[in-house]
Amino acid sequence: MIPISLNTWLIPQLHIPDGFLSLAVSLFFWLIAIIFIAIAARKVQQDFDDRRTPLMGILAAFIFAAQMLNFPIAGGTSGHLLGGALAAILLGPWAAILVMAAVIGAQALLFQDGGFLAMGANIFNMGILTALIGFGLYRGALRGAKRFKLIIAAIAAWLSVMAGALSTSLQLWLSGTASLQVVMPAMLGVHAFIGVGEALITVGALAFIFKTRPDLLSAGEVRGRGGRGWIAAGGIITLLTVLLAPLASANPDGLERVAEKLGFINAGRGAPYQIFPDYTIPLLGETPLSTILAGAIGALAAGVIVVLAMRLLRQRPDQSLSAGDQ
């Protein structure tokens, strides 16, 4: 793991460190991440009864270890795995989100791969988006032959990396840390390449499991992990990625103008110290004090939301567990 992050220093990975995202963007994605994790914790608890904790932990360790596996592509570079799509296909979307959140959290805590305040965004890019695309597309291909499923899995794996890269560039741009014209083509270009490794390993792993434990990937099993809603969700995100990526890389100025028109470009684009940049406390006018107060209020509100969400999440998980003892 350390060697991997050392080898790939110069490749913009998807683990965004702190400092590159504005506070507004950071908090927004934290909120999304918390909501998803809260739902995931509940769902997973229903599906896996009391085996879930050790199992989820070990599967998170699996993703971690699988990210170390690599293979030579060409000229000294090597392909390796992000794992979001694979996890979603193997475990179902909710369990995958939980597992990826644990992986991303540990990477930040142990290796500083990705920041703390940026963790919400990282979980969104590498856990939630990948789970939506990975599972959504695979779930849609359930009826097909094995070969077809594998092809879809390959596409899903590649796209999940592209979606992560797209979303990372947008976040950086919204935070005012990078110009879209630079970050978008760079991110998408590099990850189009990285995605090939992702696709090959994902398919290799699935092919292996098809051969050795076909029961784990049987139609019934996969259906049990999520309903048809996922197909739609995955489809929409896929469509967005497919449309937005070429559009934005071909004409980032255009996107920038559109965003400016819609007004949200200023939302994050101002300095990261402003939580609601254009919002100042009316009575105080545009003074530094007003900015501080606005910031404090915003932070407080975000804090309250976080605490509430945590509460919500904490209440259920540990009841009704002992039922499944045998």
């Binding site: 220093w9 460190p17 085996r51 199992l55 932990g57 360790a61 392909g79 840390t177 110009s179 390993i201």
Partner: protein, 264 residues
């Protein structure tokens, strides 16, 4: 794989601080760094001094943090672009090929500020990791009321990270050992095949992880597990911790004030 734990064996004031206090203070420090406006150099400098004092207290080698803060490098590359797109007074005009790039003063300030925030954040995070063993962090999360499920998942993950990480390493070694070539032949087969083999290794790891999950669950049942995980509480928050937290918050507030009212 174990090198990141090398400095946790120390016994400085920081090592002995209650982990939950360290976690909260780290988060506040990062928050404070993000809140410092562009170009508020005094505030950045004060934050850096605070950081250096902490590193000194922890008796952690200052250079140690350096290598790992390189993780921000790739993102720094992408942030280079703000040098040229931020509106401001032109400093340097470059003509690479057909383009014209104008570096502005505001751009330079913005870029340097992003870098400063990011370095501060990553270094304090390194300091936290270097002075707090992961199991203690887990205790801290429990006390901070993170969902118990999530903390338990993290605990299991941490334990099996190394087991599975070693397994992955051994798989790769075995592959390396058989990645032979005959003199005068190219070898290596093709890309698809190599990818498929790596994928097979991932699949193998997955199945083993599943089975291990099953066995661990059995081992837990054997020792009385019925759905809850209990742990002893080895950490208490003492007055010393409160004092440290109060001092920290005070300093961070001061930094924020100085950042905004430079004349104060």
């Amino acid at each position: 794989m174990q090198s990141f734990e090398r400095y946790q064996t120390g016994n400085s004031f920081l090592h002995r601080l209650a982990p939950r206090v360290k976690v909260v203070m780290t988060a506040l420090f990062i928050l404070s760094a993000l809140l410092i406006p562009d170009g508020a150099w005094t505030a950045f400098l004060l934050s850096l001094m605070m950081l250096l004092v902490l590193i000194r207290i922890a008796a952690a080698p200052i250079g140690m943090a350096f290598k790992r803060s390189l993780v921000i490098l790739p993102f720094t590359l992408t942030a280079f672009s703000v040098l040229f797109v931020t509106p401001g007074a032109p400093l340097i005009v470059l003509h690479p090929g057909p383009w014209t790039l104008t570096m502005t003063d505001a751009g330079v300030i913005r870029f340097a500020s992003i870098l400063a925030r990011s370095l501060l954040a990553v270094k304090i995070a390194i300091l936290l990791t270097a002075t707090t063993p992961f199991p203690d962090l887990l205790h801290a999360f429990r006390h901070l009321h993170l969902p118990r499920t999530l903390v338990s998942i993290l605990a299991f993950m941490y334990r099996y990270l190394f087991v599975l990480g070693d397994e992955a390493t051994r798989l790769m070694r075995a592959r390396q050992a058989r990645s032979a070539r005959l003199p005068g032949r190219s070898g290596g087969a093709n890309l698809m095949w190599r990818g498929k083999v790596a994928g097979g290794m991932a699949g193998q790891l997955f199945l083993r992880s599943l089975e291990r999950g099953e066995r661990v669950h059995q081992a837990m049942l054997a020792r009385g597990y019925r759905g809850h995980i209990y742990t002893l509480n080895p950490h208490v928050v003492t007055r010393r911790d409160w004092l440290f937290a109060a001092a920290g918050v005070f300093l961070l507030l001061l930094i924020q004030l100085i950042a905004r009212f430079p004349l104060l």
